[in-house]
Point group: C2
Chain length 104, copies 2
């Protein structure tokens, strides 16, 4: 579908992409983790897109199996949510993914 192609294009053209909601603290937490690491992700706020927001969220669920926010991609690969990203950071696996994707 059109939205699937949009998501695939977005995640392949940007090293780090975060699908988020402005009022969600887990989304804020993962955004601020990237900021602390000196990374500027492309952030797409699903609650700021009108009717396209829920459609995009459904598309993300079809592509990744994950309907929740935040939904994080690095180097075109689906990473998961906030707890997944934090865990990767704690085990030292996040930084190599970021440098491989050209984000740092």
């Amino acid at each position: 579908s059109g939205l699937e192609d949009t998501v695939k294009k977005t995640i392949s053209e940007n090293p780090v992409v975060v699908y988020s909601k402005t009022w969600c603290s887990y989304s804020s937490e993962v955004k601020s983790l990237f900021t602390r690491l000196g990374v500027e992700p492309l952030v797409i706020e699903l609650d700021q897109l009108g009717s396209e927001g829920p459609q995009l969220q459904t598309t993300l669920e079809m592509l990744t199996g994950q309907h929740t926010v935040p939904n994080v991609f690095i180097g075109g690969k689906h990473i998961g949510g906030c707890t997944d990203t934090i865990k990767l950071h704690q085990t030292g696996e996040l930084e190599p993914l970021l440098s491989e994707a050209g984000a740092t």
Copy 2:
């Protein structure tokens, strides 16, 4: 107003009250902290009450200055949100509040 009286009655009659949203991870985090401490808070899911949910949230904001969830009360006193409750736990101040309120 009627809702203000409802909230005042609820927080005075129950040792621990959490106003929450079912899909919010910060709300889940604070609920599971209480569970780990052996406390069974009264949980009110604002997204399960139809049109009364947003009205209740506005009432909570008028009473506490806080419009966000989770909104936690112990012994009738306004505690704050998730990070506030976790901080009190980390400094050892939460347990005395819970036993004073008769929650443990």
